[in-house]
């Protein structure tokens, strides 16, 4: 696997067009590659280097810094259990141990059928809802061991696919800037003082106060 396919290449080009410097698109394109294949393939990093006018080594350098990017396949469902402070004192570690026992794997590894990977993660900003976890970055708040087993059973039997897309898919809605409304990129080398800073707004909505 795999360079970006034609559909994703079109998306990639749209993403790139929104940045004054195309290298800024590196992380969004790595997410796109991970959405396509479930992980970031070496070929995809080479493709991203071509698209962002960098080298594969630079793309790998960026990719390897960030925890969310997996450079090898992981389970279809990535189960991220928070054990940081608020979750720790509310049973997060016990939840992790239950998950490990129930799935028969240790944190950081994947079930033999390739369905589930467990990770022991840092705070995911649901501290008042501890213990909490994410499956493919979808939240489950105040989750008990029984509820955990229930969700896992549902996923095993092919359920909850509307709620939880496969690993790699984050937002299912993408930003699109309509051409006729776009203000345009602010080229770091070329934009003068914005006109509204030096001149008063031409058509203020509620009368000229300035």
């Amino acid at each position: 696997m795999a360079r970006l396919d034609d559909t994703n290449l079109a998306t990639a080009k749209e993403i790139i067009s929104r940045y004054p410097r195309i290298k800024s698109a590196t992380i969004p394109l790595l997410h796109l590659a991970q959405e396509q294949d479930g992980y970031v393939a070496t070929d995809a990093m080479e493709h991203i280097a071509e698209l962002t006018n960098t080298t594969p080594a630079q793309v790998l350098g960026t990719c390897s810094f960030y925890e969310m990017f997996k450079r090898e396949p992981v389970g279809k469902y990535l189960v991220n259990i928070c054990t940081n402070i608020s979750c720790q004192i509310m049973g997060g570690e016990e939840l992790l141990h239950h998950a490990e026992e129930s799935l028969g794997i240790k944190g950081g590894s994947t079930t033999a059928d390739g369905l589930f990977t467990i990770e022991d993660v840092e705070c995911i900003a649901a501290c008042t809802e501890a213990p909490c976890l994410q499956i493919n970055y979808r939240y489950f708040h105040k989750i008990s061991n029984d509820q955990f087993d229930e969700v896992i059973a549902d996923l095993r039997s092919g359920g909850r696919t509307d709620e939880i897309p496969p690993h790699g898919t984050l937002a299912r809605i993408r930003q699109h800037i309509p051409a006729d409304r776009a203000a345009g990129n602010a080229d770091p080398a070329g934009i003068p003082e914005p006109i509204w800073l030096s001149a008063p707004a031409t058509a203020p909505p509620e009368g000229e106060k300035a």
Binding site: R18, P20, R21, K23, S24, T26, I27, H31, T52, T54, F65, Y66, E67, M68, F69, N80, N84, I85, S86, Q88, I89, M90, E122, C123, A125, A126, C127, T128, E129, A130, Y137, R138, L170, A171, I173, R174, Q175, I177, P178, D180, R181, A182, A183, G184, N185, A186, P188, P192, P194, I195, W196, L197, P200, A201, A203, P205, E206, G207, E208, A210
Partner: protein, 455 residues
């Protein structure tokens, strides 16, 4: 000092099922703040925000209007970057602001861009927050279609694009220069300040304002209701309202918007409308007042108001509004270890004191918990802390490019100085401490009159 009836400024749509839609936003006063801003001059908007005394809500607590004024005159383009990389343990507010009220944030971004003269804005959302990314993408698409963003907004000369950008899992990217590195497509490692103060040399080395989500979410209300109405709320150095996430051992863990500066920790932990008391009616042992990086406070601090300067004098901070509550049965050695493990894992590796120090600290704590600790380990822990942040004072001294390393010293100095007996129980005997620790929160005792004299 009480629960006040201050209006909800940033969380007013949290209880609405459709608060994230443009229809509901506009029907509840949305985009009126932007219109009010555009009726003023950009410098008039800056003055308004300055007189509101809006403190940054990300952690450092710097006045937002003053920060805006740091852009060098005549240097363009300027960028606005939204820090939506909420990752400080205990912190849970920006995700809600992005998921439940994305238009309020977008309106705040637009007001900021107009005031500062930013030609493009980047909204950096934490990678793990898929729903927030979806809600903001939809909100941006709807706001563009309705003419709130883009070219010649409302027929004025004001034009700006807002670009949604996601992170990919790195706490350090919440530090503003690391966030800029990440936005440029690089590993998220902080830049040296000076020269890379974002307001002077930020994104693409141009003047850049990096503001926290909650900070910007206050702007529509301030522009609609006026700085005077905002400054009428709160205390001398802490105006308006503020969102606090109360987690851990309280009966009602929750996210509460309270009047800043006058509400006390006791209100927040015990008032029925907030925390509701310690679970199972146990005793309070300690609490973290402002996220994992903050030195801890104790029962004797309950009557301290949630006021930035007052809490600062105690030797800690309100940080990111994250209050984590420990009851009497909490194992403070384990809590300390878990916090330090976080910093060790999240150190970016650029500076030696942090990269080496945090992982040493983690390993020493681990062996203490495993029953393999040595009598000299407490001194060793503090000695390493002293090498990361000399004297363990407040505000902390820094030996590194960013504050991550020194943050790891807070839970250690707090736990060792206050709960030394718990460490000694793990060690199986008394431990000598010779390293000097200076931070007031670590050495106490707390003097009530002194700390609240000017509240």
């Amino acid at each position: 000092m009480a629960v006040t009836d201050a209006p909800k400024i940033t969380s007013s749509r949290f209880d609405l099922a459709d608060g994230h839609t443009i229809e509901r936003y506009v029907a509840t006063g949305g985009y009126q703040g932007l219109k009010a801003a555009l009726a003023k001059s950009p410098s008039g908007v800056v003055d308004e925000v300055k007189s509101a005394s809006l403190l940054g809500r990300g952690g450092a607590g710097f006045p937002a209007g003053v920060k805006w004024g740091f852009c060098p005159p005549g240097v363009f383009p300027r960028y606005l970057v939204v820090n939506g990389d909420e990752s400080e343990p205990g912190t849970y507010k920006d995700r809600l602001l992005m998921e439940k009220d994305p238009h309020q944030l977008i309106e705040g971004v637009l007001i900021g861009c107009y005031a500062v003269g930013c030609s493009q804005a980047f909204l950096y959302v934490r990678g793990e927050m898929a729903l927030a990314q979806e809600r903001i993408a939809q909100a941006l698409n709807d706001a563009y279609a309705a003419g709130h963003i883009g070219k010649n907004i409302y027929g004025t000369e004001f034009s700006v694009d807002i670009v949604l950008h996601w992170g990919a899992g790195a706490y350090i990217v919440g530090e503003e220069t690391a966030l800029i590195e990440s936005l440029e497509g690089n590993r998220g490692m902080p830049r040296l300040k000076p020269p890379f103060f974002p307001a002077a040399k930020g994104l693409y080395l141009q003047p850049t304002i990096v503001n926290n989500v909650e900070t910007l979410a206050n702007l529509p209300w301030i522009m609609s209701n006026g700085a005077a109405a905002f400054a009428a709320l709160g205390a001398e150095n802490s105006k308006g309202t503020r969102i606090f996430a109360v987690s851990g051992h309280v009966k009602n863990p929750g996210v509460y918007e309270v009047e800043f500066g006058v509400t006390t920790f006791r209100d927040l932990l015990y008032a029925p409308v907030y925390g509701g008391g310690i679970r199972h009616d146990r005793e309070l042992k300690a609490f973290i007042p402002g996220g994992a990086s903050a030195p801890w406070l104790y029962p004797e601090h309950l009557d301290v108001p949630l006021e930035a300067a007052t809490v600062g004098k105690l030797g800690t901070m309100l940080g990111s509004g994250a209050v984590v509550v420990f009851d009497e049965q909490t194992d403070m050695v384990k809590a300390c270890h878990r916090l330090v493990r976080f910093f060790a894992r999240e150190s970016c590796g650029k500076c030696t004191p942090c990269r080496e120090g945090t992982s040493w600290l983690e390993k020493i704590l681990e062996r203490i918990i495993d029953g393999l600790g040595r009598p000299e380990d407490l001194d060793l822990l503090l000695d390493i802390c002293d090498n990361i942040s000399v004297g363990m004072n407040w505000p902390p001294r820094q030996t590194t490019i960013c504050p991550l390393g020194q943050s790891a010293t807070s839970p250690i100095a707090s736990a060792v100085m206050r709960f030394r007996d718990e460490f000694e129980a793990y060690l199986g005997g008394p431990a000598e401490i010779t390293v000097q620790v200076k931070g007031p929160a670590f050495v106490g005792p707390y003097v009530h009159e002194e700390a609240t004299a000017d509240a």
